[in-house]
């Protein structure tokens, strides 16, 4: 880098504006999440050509199209698997995975669990609106019991998944919850999640103003209680985090539930990646190594 011309161009919010404007419904919680991601990237000054936003399918999964970074708009539920492959092939990239609760906890549930236990170094932001939006309003894995939707018109009889407890149980090394209605707080959590070296899970309440009339901004706002405001709370204490994750009702905690930094990220645990990212490595097997492979068979 010493010989190259340093052009200290600052990354600005304008640089991160996507080629098209978001087509979410007016008032959708996802606008707040997009804005917080853009703010976090500007505050961290990460070159936008080194950022990849990867999503599945759904309203919130349209996000990569609305931000000027590299992006992949993949298949329903598969963003984490795609992101894992991409990160392992070039671990110098900053990888953000964005999607919804149906995408992540329903169809993608299996990948969610395994990506956490692998501690892949990426930030996974779930815009959790407790409903299927793009398919026009069906029950999601986080819909509350009793909630009436087009697919369960007499009320949901299945218990919802608790994403925070699940993430803690699966071994996620950074677990947090944010609220789209609190930009400043959310931006801070996104920054922490990006900086964390390992799998960061950020569940964000992102109200669906069109199909979810139960979990609205008005419903969330008075319930949001920041963990940072509790001086007794210790985010390095897994048991405490698990207990807090079970709270749901008049008070719902947001903020960083848990973080540990003693587990190496997947790419750091594999010696093949020690010298450089895969994509920068010579694709040829050295001839003496190749000869050895053949001699084994003779």
């Amino acid at each position: 880098m010493a010989t190259s011309v340093q052009r200290a161009t600052q990354l600005t919010l304008a640089d991160l504006k996507g080629r098209v404007d978001p087509d979410w419904c007016p008032g959708c919680g996802d606008f707040g999440v997009l804005a917080a991601i853009q703010k976090a990237l500007v505050e961290l000054q990460i070159p936008n050509n080194n950022v990849v936003a990867i999503s599945g399918i759904g309203c919130s999964s349209n996000l990569p199209g609305f931000i000027n970074t590299y992006g992949m708009h993949t298949l329903h539920g598969r963003a984490l698997a795609v992101a894992t492959g991409l990160k392992l092939a070039n671990h110098e990239l900053t990888v953000l995975v964005t999607g919804g609760d149906g995408d992540g906890f329903g169809i993608g549930g299996n990948h969610f669990i395994h990506t956490m236990r692998r501690n892949v170094d990426l930030l996974y932001i779930v815009m959790d609106n407790q409903i299927y939006g793009l398919t026009t309003g069906q029950t999601s894995p986080t819909s509350r019991v009793g909630m009436k939707t087009k697919s369960m018109p007499f009320g949901n009889i299945e218990a919802p998944v608790n994403p925070i407890s699940l993430a803690l149980a699966a071994g996620a090394t950074f677990v947090a919850r944010g609220f789209s209605g609190d930009q400043k707080h959310l931006t801070e959590l996104i920054k922490q999640g990006i900086v964390h070296k390992g799998f960061s899970f950020l569940d964000v309440f992102s109200p669906c103003v069109t199909y979810n009339h139960d979990n609205t901004y008005q419903w969330f706002r008075p319930r949001m209680k920041k963990l940072e405001d509790d001086s007794a709370y210790d985010a390095s204490d897994w048991t405490m985090a698990m207990e807090k994750s079970l709270l749901w009702g008049e008070e719902i905690p947001i903020g960083k539930f848990f973080e540990r930094t003693d587990v190496p990220a997947l790419h750091a645990a594999e010696p093949v990646l020690n010298e450089s990212p895969l994509v920068q490595q010579d694709p040829r097997v050295p001839s003496d190594v190749a000869r050895g492979f053949i001699e084994e068979l003779m």
């Binding site: 052009r7 993949t74 894992t84 110098e92 093949v272 994509v279 040829r284 003779m298």
Partner: protein
């Protein structure tokens, strides 16, 4: 007829069938003999029945052949199942303490070994196996030194005492045979050739390494797991990131993710796993990120017969994922081709930015073949196509130090071109920021699936992708006819049946029925016109394939309207033997039937 010799070793799983097999294979290949090994086994870890057939000879041996020259049953069950298959000139070596021979055909030599007299069976649990190897080698006319060398290598790690003990037991078997059994009339020759002995799975894994694969992942599934095992064992030496994934859906998506970052990326599975991958293949096609997926076919449908072979996945390949998109499908012709095909396939998928499917099967995946080491070329041409990697000319990251890379210089990931191929920049490259999408998109990647829906743009992008098909067709050579053009019968096969059909043709020619062969390697593109041209003058055409419905015959008809005079099909899980094809051809030429389904005589 060429000189070959087949030894079959049978027993229960866990009884040690594999080790004598490996020892024979090493000894044969080090004598400069070609060999082919096929293991008929069951989906059971301990018990059941497994029969390993190793066929060898001075000229190329491509299949298991028709006869067993030497049978080594390690248990009564094997004796009972297979002694009756032996014909005059064959021999059977067995442990006389535990196994009773049944009725054998005239001219079959029964060779009972008094195992407890020759070895201390309380110390050496596999003494019967080692004695039989020693006895067998004497009968094949091979000097004891060859066996001693292999046993020393085999037991080196266990110390001198174990080596001496095993060499002693083998020697006792060798000497006992010299004194009591009649040697085979033609001793196994020696040649100056040298062979590497490997399975199709190892060949495909090594082919991947040679092609520059940097990322491989898989979920274990027979019969493809051997690819994962080789990759995992050799990953660190070869510089390959190898992962075992939670399911095949994860596998294909991870493979695509790695490929999207710019490395060659591969995965392997069998039919059931492939079914789970098909949505992912559509993504590879839509975002134009190339991957190579290997399907090692086994007998289906569903869980089917996991340890048995079939060519039953062709239509799954042809129809994998919804919608129309360019793809490549090739079936390797033999184990050496399993190696060679992978770098070829990668060059094509990199050039045309689409998925490439390798349609292998259990017969090749788990079979073993002696291959000329020169055919395992680790310096093949690597053509990455129009790829822009995050490197500058000096190999350093091209980042100029600025955080903002908003101006893209008009880069369009899906630029309309005459060839349909658009230069592919991967994430991390400055000045080429874009988002790829599985939704239909415009040249710059922006979706046209929602508010920008537009039939004209959709059509244009569809045609851009499909234009690549023309290039693909030109890049892949058509099949060739092997044998005299005016032959009485033309046998058409695809993939792994190459060797057995070749030998059937030789046998037919020996019997005065001239035969030629059209073996298909590239299924997509098929080159239907070229096939019709080759078959225009054919006198009697028969399609040979390892499935029930004639999947290739139906495909060929759908592409060319060609209907053969007859079909030979086998769907019992076991591969063809040359005489199956020869007898079927004879009955079809005699006008007895148009569809032959040979019966597999070996009960495995």
């Amino acid at each position: 007829m060429k000189q070959t010799f087949a030894v079959a070793i049978g027993g229960a799983a866990g009884q040690g069938v594999a080790t004598p097999g490996d020892i024979f294979a090493k000894i044969f290949s080090r004598r400069g003999l070609s060999l082919n090994a096929y293991n008929a086994y069951q989906s059971i870890i301990r018990g059941g029945h497994t029969l390993l057939t190793i066929r060898t000879g001075p000229e190329p041996v491509t299949n298991m052949g028709d006869r067993i020259d030497l049978l080594i049953p390690l248990n009564q069950d094997t004796m009972d199942r297979h002694l009756k298959l032996l014909t005059s000139g064959a021999a059977c070596i067995y442990n006389a303490d535990t196994i009773k021979a049944g009725a054998a055909a005239d001219g079959v030599q029964l060779c009972p070994l008094p195992v407890s007299e020759l070895a201390d069976i309380t110390r050496n649990k596999v003494a019967q196996n080692t004695l039989a190897i020693g006895a067998g080698l004497h009968m094949m006319g091979i000097a004891f030194a060859a066996l001693e060398e292999v046993l020393r290598e085999q037991f080196k790690k266990k110390g001198d005492a174990v080596v001496a003990e095993n060499v002693g037991v083998a020697r006792a078997g060798y000497d006992y045979a010299a004194a009591h059994f009649t040697a085979f009339p033609n001793p196994l020759p020696k040649t100056e050739k040298r062979y590497a002995v490997l399975s199709g799975n190892i060949a495909m894994a090594m082919g991947g390494a040679a092609a520059g694969v940097k990322f491989y992942c898989a979920y274990p599934m027979s019969p493809s797991t051997g690819v994962l095992h080789w990759m995992a064992t050799h990953a660190r030496k070869a510089g390959i990131m190898v992962r075992q994934v939670e399911d095949e859906i994860g596998v294909i998506n991870m493979t695509i993710g790695a490929a999207h970052a710019g490395v060659r990326s591969m995965c392997a599975t069998s039919g059931g796993g492939f079914a789970l991958m098909s949505e992912g293949l559509g993504m590879s096609a839509m975002i134009e990120t190339p991957v190579v997926v290997i399907d090692c076919q086994r007998a289906g449908p569903s869980t089917g017969v996991p340890t048995k072979t079939e060519q039953g996945d062709l239509w799954q390949m042809l129809g994998a994922a919804f919608g129309d998109y360019p793809r490549l499908i090739a079936a390797p012709l033999d184990i050496a081709d399993c190696f060679k095909l992978i770098p070829e396939m990668f060059n094509l998928v990199d050039r045309f930015q689409c998925p490439g499917l390798v349609l292998c099967d259990l017969l090749l995946s788990e079979g073993r073949l002696g291959v000329d080491p020169k055919d395992l070329d680790f310096s093949p041409v690597i053509d990455r196509g129009e790829l822009i990697l995050p490197l500058d000319g000096n190999g350093a990251n091209g980042n100029d130090g600025s955080a903002a890379m908003a101006t893209n210089g008009g880069y369009k990931r899906y630029k309309f071109t005459e060839s349909g191929i658009s230069p592919r920049a991967v994430p991390g490259v400055p000045g080429h920021i874009h988002t790829v999408a599985t939704d239909e998109h415009m040249e710059d990647g922006v979706l046209i699936s929602d508010e920008f829906t537009n039939p004209i743009k959709r059509r244009a992008m569809m045609e851009k992708r499909m234009r690549k098909v023309t290039g693909i067709e030109a890049a892949v050579p058509p099949s060739m006819l092997r044998g005299p053009r005016d032959a009485e019968v033309t046998l058409i096969g695809w993939g792994s049946t190459k060797g057995v059909i070749e030998e059937a043709c030789e046998q037919l020619n020996d019997k005065g029925i001239s035969a030629n062969q059209l073996q298909i390697r590239w299924l997509v593109p098929l080159h239907g016109e070229a096939i019709l041209d080759l078959l225009k003058g054919a006198r009697h055409t028969i399609i040979v394939e390892n499935n029930y419905s004639g999947q290739f015959a139906r495909y060929l008809r759908s592409e060319t309207s060609f209907v053969p005079d007859g079909n030979i099909r086998k769907y019992d899980g076991e591969p063809f033997m040359p005489h199956h094809i020869v007898e079927a051809v004879k009955e079809q030429l005699a006008g007895k039937t148009k569809l032959s389904v040979p019966v597999h005589e070996i009960m495995v």
